[in-house]
Every structure is written in C-alpha cells, then in structure tokens.
C-alpha cells in the first residue's frame, strides 16, 4: 500500500506513453501479421486464407523486381554511405585551419537537415535535360549533349545512390570525426617517435582505432536499406520506375493505391523478416558482439 502511494503517480505518468505504444506500435504489428493471413476487405467478412497472400506476393515478378532494386540501391547507399563520409572525415581531420574546418562541417551537414522533397526536387531540376544546371555545365565544359539523367535506365539507380550518399554524408562524417577525436593522442606521439609519416599514422593509428565507430555506422545504416521510401517517392517517374521502385514503394502501391491490403501486409512482413536477417548478417560480419 505504501509503495503504491509512493509510486502510483509514476505509473500514472507512464500511462499515456504505454497507451500510445500499444495503439500505434504493438497493435499495428499484430494487426499487420493477422491481416497478412486474411483476405482483407475494407468492409464485410475477412476470411483467413493461410499463406495465400505470401504466395501471391512471392509469385509476383513486380515484388522480385522491387526486391532486387532494394538490394542494389540500398546496398549501393550502404557502401557509399560508409566510404564517402569516412574519406571526408579523414580529409577534414588533416585540416588544421580551424575556421575552414568548421565552415566545411557546417555546409556539409545542411543537406541532411532538408527533406527529400526539397533535395529530390532540386535534383530533378539540376539534372533536367534542357534547363538543368548540370547539363548546361557539362555542355559548356565538355561539350556533351544533354543527358536525361532521370529518364534513362542506365543512370537512374546511380543517381539515387549518389544523391542519397551526398545527402547524408555530413551526418555520418560527424560520427566518424567524433570517433577520431576520441583517439588517444599519445598513440600519435608514439608513432611519430618511431618515425611514422603522416600517411602511416593514418593507416596504422587512425583507421584501426576507428574500428568500433565503423561497426556502429555500418549497423545503423543497415536498418536504412529496407526503409528507403521518401527519396524514391519523390524522384521516381514512370520512365525509370522499373529500375528504382523499392520494396516500400511496392507495399505502398499494393496497399494504398490498389487497396489489396492482404498482399501488402504480407509484403511488409517479408520486409520485417529481411530486416532481421540483414541485421544478424551484418552483426556477424562485423563481429559486432565481440567488441
């Protein structure tokens, strides 16, 4: 009775949060799982159909196309989103002119702050064939004919990967820089005493010492692979849809546009399953748990 009096108010404070999570996290998850086994109609009876929805999706070539698009685009972003910010962070670390370093960090971070509508919209304009800045510049410098970057199959995925890596570079770069700053300075001193050059210090001190930061970033970015949606939603167009439509786009189209809720829910659970698989794979690959 005394504990209840003492702690009662705390449980009361926690109540809204608990209700929120049950209603908007746990219940949708369970409901989604249930729906994936149903012939779900917005009204009327919703009979259970076993694994039929999973089979429908599994036999849908559009799904597999979206699956490969996700792996290629997501994989590209995963790799590029690791190396690009790492290189930029190492390069920034070599800059001793503090105002320049600060300004660079400040500017590189801005695209991460902006939405995909803004970034994607600006990309579409910059890359447009007739009045786009990029094509005008290429024409002037190299005399190239305008390229319709966002309508050609061979460019579409590269543009998606490139713009995503470019957008989040500043963010991941800050994480790497934080890791570099945390390295014990006496390691560099010792290396210098032994006559290590600048390049050797980078190779034998900085990089090995960053191993943990690298693992964390790789793991965090893994979760993003299957969640790509906003970018594609903004930058896709019918000409390249077959090359860039990812799994989330497939779910969205099945569920919201075609109102085929059952198969959409089944597709969602393939995504959940894949997320788990990928996470485990990356944990194993980076030996995350052995730190």
């Amino acid at each position: 009775m005394k504990t209840l009096k003492k702690y009662g108010p705390f449980y009361l404070l926690m109540l809204p949060v608990a209700i929120y999570f049950i209603l908007f996290s746990y219940y949708p998850l369970v409901k989604g799982l249930q729906t994936s086994f149903q012939d779900y109609k917005l009204m009327g009876a919703r009979p259970y159909v076993g694994f039929a929805n999973y089979e429908t999706v599994g036999h849908d070539p559009t799904f597999w196309n979206a699956f490969w698009n996700t792996l290629i685009i997501g994989g590209g972003i995963w790799i590029g989103g690791f190396f690009a910010p790492l290189i930029v962070a190492l390069s920034l670390n070599e800059v001793l002119h503090r105002p320049f370093k600060k300004a660079a960090q400040l500017i590189l971070y801005v695209p991460h702050l902006l939405s995909w509508v803004v970034i994607g919209g600006v990309c579409i304009f910059l890359l447009s064939p007739d009045t786009g800045f990029v094509n005008l510049l290429l024409g002037k410098l190299l005399g190239l004919k305008p390229i319709n970057f966002l309508a050609e199959d061979s460019w579409a995925r590269g543009i998606m990967i490139g713009s995503a890596v470019w957008k989040d570079m500043g963010y991941n770069c800050i994480l790497f820089l934080a890791g570099i700053v945390a390295i014990n300075p006496s390691l560099y001193e010792a290396a210098r005493m032994d006559g290590a050059t600048r390049w050797q210090q980078l190779l034998y001190v900085t990089l090995p010492q960053l191993a943990n930061t690298m693992k964390v970033i790789l793991l965090l970015n893994t979760l993003g692979i299957l969640r790509i949606f906003d970018q594609i939603f903004v930058m896709r167009n019918p000409a390249i849809a077959g090359k860039v439509d990812v799994l989330m786009m497939y779910t969205f189209q099945k569920g919201i546009m075609e109102i085929r809720i059952g198969p959409a829910a089944a597709a969602s659970f393939y995504v959940v399953l894949l997320t788990l698989l990928l996470t485990v794979a990356v944990r194993k690959m980076t030996r995350f748990d052995e730190v």
Binding site: T3, Y7, P9, F10, Y11, L13, M14, P16, V17, A18, Y20, F21, F24, S25, Y27, L29, K31, G32, T35, V88, S91, E94, V95, L96, F100, A104, L106, I107, L108, V110, L114, S115, W116, V117, V118, G121, V122, F125, L126, L136, K140, W166, L175, A178, Y188, L226, R227, D230, F233, V234, M235, M248, T251, G255, I256, I261, A265, S268, F269, V271
Partner: protein, 290 residues
C-alpha cells in the same frame, strides 16, 4: 593536438595539403552552387528563370515567384498546416518523452526493467514496415484526413525517452530525495527541478523532433487526402514533381517552384545554428541504452 602534429615543410606535405583543401572545397561547392542556383532562380522573373542558362545571380531581381506561390497557389495553407502539426507534435513529443524519462530514473520503482524492455522493443519495430496496419488503425479511429493523425504519428519515441532519461540521470537523485522530504510532490519536483536542470535535453529532443516533423512525408501521404489538410512537403512535392497533374490553368514557372523550395527550407535553416550546438550531445547520450 597542436600545430606541430606533422612536419609540414616537405613538398610532399604541401602538395597533399593543397589537394586536400581542393577536394573539400569541391565537395562544398556541390552544396553551395545548387543552393545559390535555387536562390537566384527564386528571385528571378518568371521568364528569366525558364531560360536555359546557368543562373547564379537573380536577373532581373523579382519577388514575383514568392507572390504567386504564396497567394495564387495558396502555399500559405499547407504552410500553416505544417506549422500547426510541427508545433503541436513537437510540444507533445517533448512533454511525453520527458515524463516517461522522469519515471525511468526512479531507482526503486517496481517494474522499471520491464518498462525499459517495452520501450526498447518499440525501437526494433520498423515503423515504415507497418505502414499499412497504421493506416488501418487511423481509419478505425476516424483519424484519416485530420491533422490530429499527424500530431499522433510519432507522438513519442523510445529514442527520445531514453535520451531524456539519460539527461535526467545527470541530475543528482539526492536533490529530489531531499525535496521529497521537504514535502514537494512528484509533479512539483519534475517541473521545478528536472525540467529546469535538463534544459539542454529538452532543447535537443525538441530540435530533433522539429526537424523530423517538418520534413515528415510518409505519414501525410498515407493519412491525408483532403487538399485543405495537406502539409507543406506534400504540396511542394506535387508542385515540383507532379507537373502534369496540376490543374491550374497557367504554367508554373521555375521561379515559382524554387520560391516554394526556399519557403520550405527557411524554418529548418532558422533552427540550424541550434541543431549544431545540441547535435553531438544528443548522439552520444542517445547511444547509451543502459
């Protein structure tokens, strides 16, 4: 680490430094040039903005684009919707996260461990993967086409709760114990002590939430159909991307679109200095999950 980190005299080092600066400068230009291009286009006249030229300076200077996008295309309406959703959503998010964070720092609270697990598990559920059932839940609650659904979406998160808990944990618990002995109630201690001492935490969570809410796209696309309730991101998307589907009788010129882009960016650029200040603290405390 001082200036004497390397011997910077050799020609090799000098070349390296030069290349390094050039690389970073080039990278920065890929961000500065598009921005300058967008700004100049937005402040150009309609005709000038449609010409195939690399425009890095508005000529002739005109605010016509802003006038058209704000008044003729009614961008003020989605702007206000976004503002309402962002402000209400952020306020609710900060309040709920800090309340829950406050509960979690009570050292002897029975059932604290399961509560933490309950929260951590929500962070494992990929929100986007459950977008179809989330749509159904909102439909069942009659929230579709209501701005309330956007405030509710992501109204609290495990991440923010843990962040607030970690900020509160830096306030010595003895202080709240002695306040209790002096007869202060639970809420009073929370407001007068924790909310005041963990201002940095409140600011961090508020800024993160502000940015992600202003940029929110999936939720409004999913839950809002009524054009009067649409948010700025969705309105901008249809203005920029879905050119063919715009029903307006006149052609939307580039300066108008770029004015829309700038208007969408302004609130974020306004809070950017603060984001810079709180960003690092947020990442590190957020990473610490017990």
């Amino acid at each position: 680490m001082g200036i004497d980190r390397y011997d910077r005299m050799g020609w090799k080092n000098k070349t390296f430094d030069a290349l390094n600066y050039a690389f970073l400068l080039l990278l920065m230009l890929t961000m500065i040039v598009p921005f300058v291009n967008v700004v100049s286009l937005a402040f150009s006249s309609g005709l000038a903005s449609m010409r195939p030229e690399m425009i890095l300076f508005p000529k002739p200077f005109s605010t016509e684009g802003f006038r058209i996008v704000w008044q003729s295309l009614d961008l003020w309406r989605p702007f206000m919707n976004s503002a309402v959703v962002t402000v209400c959503g952020t306020a609710a998010h900060v309040l709920l996260s800090s309340l829950a964070g406050y509960v979690l720092i009570q050292p002897h609270l029975p059932g604290r461990k399961p509560m933490v697990s309950f929260l951590l598990l929500t962070m494992m559920i990929p929100q986007d993967a459950i977008m179809i059932p989330l749509y159904l839940v909102n439909k069942d609650l009659h929230l579709l086409d209501k701005l309330g659904s956007l405030v509710l979406s992501g109204m609290v998160s495990g991440f923010s709760i843990l962040l607030m808990r970690n900020f509160f944990a830096s306030v010595p618990y003895e202080m709240s114990e002695s306040a209790q002995i002096d007869g202060a109630g639970t809420m009073r201690i929370f407001i007068t002590m924790y909310m005041r001492l963990a201002k940095t935490g409140l600011a961090t969570v508020a800024l993160f939430e502000f940015v992600s809410r202003w940029n929110m796209l999936t939720a409004p696309v999913l839950l809002i159909n009524d054009p009067a309730k649409t948010t700025l991101q969705v309105a901008l998307k249809s203005m920029i991307v879905d050119t063919s589907s715009t029903s307006s009788s006149f052609l939307i010129t580039t300066n108008v679109r770029m004015a829309g882009v700038l208007i969408t960016m302004i609130p974020l650029l306004a809070v950017y200095p603060f984001v810079q200040r709180y960003f690092m603290k947020g990442i590190f405390l957020g990473a610490n999950k017990e």
